[in-house]
Structures are given as structure tokens and as C-alpha cells.
């Protein structure tokens, strides 16, 4: 792994905090300052280059924490929604401080507790998958595209820092992700997650591990049997899908294809209800959870620690946002 950019610059830290109580409280809670942060580099752990030393958690606690980032249930979705909004606000404030315009992207309504995912069922009645039409285009991106040079380069630097300063992180699979650490985006990510690398890992490390878990699932006789039962149950109700992910993707396609949203919404709700009914006898999601638990227990400890670190950074970010939001209201 090569980290070229070093720590995130703090050139705007003070200027940003004086304007809004929200940000002041946010920073205090997040505990982020301009001092050098000896941030752990989780990407080293999966490579086996370092022995994890920062965690005193028991293996069971590590598995539980890892589980928290590998099962995208409604709580994870709500967390992502919250953090996306918080990042948008922080970036917009910072860009305004730099004299730039930043158009906030609205993620839509917060996922309700009745939202099911491919891995977890929602609670209550009238279940849904919480789907919205995919954003076809972004007003913010359109704004940047119409900028002319040198304004466009200046804008890019303000948002992401110098383009030639890329950091990178190597994931357990060998996948290398490069990213920019500076600018308003880097600052916002650092404030939320403790470091830019933590923010990047929040998305890519679970994907990297989940891929291997998914492959192990294909060899699980129990899971294959549960999936076959689920498919048969869904088919009896008139729905033919490979798995819950396929069902969700097909509904999304209808939404994005311009089918009447009310019609799609009714179909989505009906299907989510049938999905829940079929999940019960097939035990599809329960078996998946059990297989995931077994998979995680078999992971090398450094990788488990890295996943727990992601979980910890996410909780810290959410805690900071929630406290900050509560104060600002």
C-alpha cells in the first residue's frame, strides 16, 4: 500500500466551524482536529503485514461487529442515508467557505423500518424494498460540467484536493482502490469517519469480503435448499426470480424504465409481502445469516479486525451526526 497524500489538510477546519453550531458540536463530538492522526491502516492487516494490536474485542464481538457491516439491513440503509446527507451538508458548507457553489443532492425519504433488503426483512406491515427511481442525472454534476477553465480546475481542487495526490488502499482480495484525500470532500469524510481511508473502506471492504462469502454460499447445500424452497414459494404466488436480489433489481428496472410509479409501488409492496411469507418456511435469510456467521468465524483475525474497524468508524460517524443534528434542531 502506498499513501502518497499524507494526512488531510486542515486549512478550512477553523473557518468552517465558526459558522454553525452544528459543525462546532459535530467536531467536538467527532474529536477530529488538525493534529496528526495516527490512523490505523486496515488495508495492511488483510495483507498480513501487520498484526492487529488495536482491538481487545473477543472473537465473538468481532464477528458481531463484522456482521453489522456485511448484512445490509434497514439499519445499515438508514445509516448510509444519514451519512450521505451529513456529508452533503459538510461539503456544501466547506465549498461555500471557499466561495464555490455546491448543490446538495437529496437522497429522498429515509428508508422506513418496513424496508426489506435481500438479506434482511423489514418489520411491521406493508413491507417494501424502499426503492426509488435511480437518479438519471445530477444537478450538481451538471453545474460543474458547465464551468469553464480555470474555474473548473479550481472547483475540482476545492472539492477533492490536488488531483495528482492520490492515496490507495489494497484490499484482502488484492484489489487496489485509489482515492483523493484532500479538499472539502476529504475534510467531510475525515470528520465523519475519522479518516478518508476509513470512509473509503466503509464501502469497499464489505464488498470485498462479501464477494468471498457469496462464493462460499454457492457451495452450501443448506443455502441452496433454502433458496430452492424460496423460489418455489415465490413461483406459486406468480413471481419467478433467481433470488431476492434479482426480485429487487427487476422492480428497480420497472421504476427506471418509466413504468407508472404507483403501479410499481403496488407491485413492490405485494412482492415484499410474499417474499416475507416465503422467507419464513424456506428460512432463506436465516440460513444465510447462519452461513455468514460460520464464514466470519473462519476469517483470518486481521480481516475480522478490519471489518470491526469499519463498523466502529461507522458507528462513530453516526453518533457524531446524531448528536450534532440534535443540537442544531
Amino acid at each position: 500500500m502506498v499513501l502518497l497524500a499524507g494526512s488531510v489538510g486542515c486549512r478550512r477546519a477553523v473557518g468552517a466551524v465558526v459558522r454553525r453550531v452544528f459543525v462546532i458540536i459535530f467536531l467536538a463530538v467527532a474529536g477530529v482536529g488538525c493534529a496528526a492522526q495516527p490512523t490505523p491502516r486496515p488495508s495492511d492487516r488483510p495483507s498480513g503485514a501487520q498484526t492487529p494490536t488495536g482491538s481487545t474485542d473477543s472473537p465473538a464481538a468481532l464477528v458481531q461487529a463484522a456482521d453489522g457491516v456485511l448484512v445490509p439491513d434497514v439499519n445499515v440503509l438508514r445509516g448510509q442515508w444519514t451519512l450521505f446527507r451529513a456529508q452533503q451538508l459538510l461539503v456544501a458548507q466547506c465549498m461555500r467557505d471557499d466561495g464555490e457553489t455546491y448543490l446538495i443532492t437529496d437522497p429522498g425519504p429515509e428508508p422506513g423500518t418496513n424496508t426489506s433488503t435481500a438479506e434482511s426483512l423489514g418489520t411491521g406491515t406493508h413491507l417494501t424494498y424502499g426503492l426509488q427511481a435511480s437518479p438519471l442525472t445530477s444537478a450538481q454534476d451538471a453545474y460543474v460540467r458547465q464551468l469553464r477553465e480555470p474555474a473548473r480546475t479550481r472547483y475540482d481542487q476545492a472539492l477533492g484536493g490536488p488531483a495528482n495526490e492520490q492515496a490507495s488502499v489494497t484490499l484482502p482480495s488484492g484489489l487496489v482502490i485509489s482515492y483523493r484525500e484532500g479538499g472539502c470532500l476529504g475534510q467531510a469524510r475525515s470528520r465523519l469517519f475519522g479518516s478518508v481511508q476509513n470512509a473509503v473502506l466503509d464501502s469497499v471492504l464489505p464488498q470485498d469480503v462479501d464477494k468471498r462469502f457469496g462464493k462460499s454460499l454457492t457451495q452450501s447445500a443448506r443455502y441452496k435448499a433454502a433458496l430452492a424452497d424460496w423460489r418455489a414459494c415465490m413461483a406459486r404466488a406468480g413471481y419467478t426470480y433467481v433470488d431476492p436480489t434479482d426480485a429487487i433489481n427487476q422492480i428497480r428496472l420497472l421504476l427506471d424504465g418509466g413504468t407508472n410509479p404507483q403501479h410499481v409501488g403496488a407491485l413492490e409492496q405485494a412482492m415484499a409481502d410474499v417474499d416475507a411469507v416465503c422467507d419464513h418456511p424456506s428460512r432463506l435469510r436465516q440460513v444465510r445469516a447462519q452461513e455468514l456467521d460460520a464464514f466470519l468465524r473462519g476469517l483470518p483475525l486481521p480481516q475480522l479486525v478490519s471489518l470491526a474497524d469499519v463498523h466502529r468508524a461507522r458507528l462513530r460517524a453516526l453518533d457524531a451526526v446524531n448528536r450534532g443534528s440534535a443540537v442544531s434542531q
Partner: protein, 102 residues
């Protein structure tokens, strides 16, 4: 997205979500089928909206996927596989979708 690894070759700027990359042509010098379907070998998410971009194995957001967060890049698809299908990304991306949930 680039047609070759290490952000080289032909370049395609995916401004919008796109359920079918066969609609976008490219010289057969870079991709023998002449479209951006099953063509890309590296990518960088230059979007400024904070959204990640899901890259899908099949058109219409089907098959495996991989989400690339905002302002991050993958220099070499040959070492990446899609989630859910374990097929390699290289020369296999067929649709793109922007999302805040990445």
C-alpha cells in the same frame, strides 16, 4: 471509464445512470464489439454529487455488481470480480447506476 487498465485507452464519461451500455459506440480498435458494453478495464468516479456508481455485469442492472464510491478509482479491472456472481469486471461491465447507498 477507460477501455484499458491504468486509466488508458478510449474514455467514456458516464454522466447518467445507464441501463444499457450497448448504446454507446467506441472504435473497434479498443473494443472489438464496437460498443461500451463489456469494454471497460478501469474507472474513476469523478462525480461531484457524493454518489457512488454501481457497475453491473448485465444490462438492465442485472447480474453481479460492484459499487465505486465517489472520488475513488479502480485502475485494473482484471483483479476485481463482481459481487454476487464472481465474474471478473474486466470487459464485463454492461450497465451503470448512480446511488447514495454505496
Amino acid at each position: 471509464m477507460w477501455s484499458d487498465i491504468n486509466d488508458s485507452g478510449a474514455f467514456y464519461a458516464a454522466v447518467n445512470s445507464d441501463a444499457n451500455l450497448t448504446r454507446w459506440s467506441i472504435s473497434t480498435t479498443y473494443c472489438r464489439q464496437g460498443t461500451w458494453n463489456d469494454c471497460a478495464s478501469s474507472a474513476y468516479n469523478y462525480g461531484t454529487s457524493g454518489m457512488g456508481v454501481f457497475m453491473y455485469q448485465d444490462i438492465n442492472y442485472g447480474g453481479g455488481d460492484f459499487c465505486l464510491p465517489n472520488y475513488t478509482g479502480l485502475d485494473n479491472f482484471t483483479v476485481v470480480t463482481f459481487n454476487n456472481s464472481w465474474v471478473g469486471l474486466n470487459d464485463n461491465v454492461s450497465s451503470l447506476r448512480w446511488s447514495w447507498s454505496c
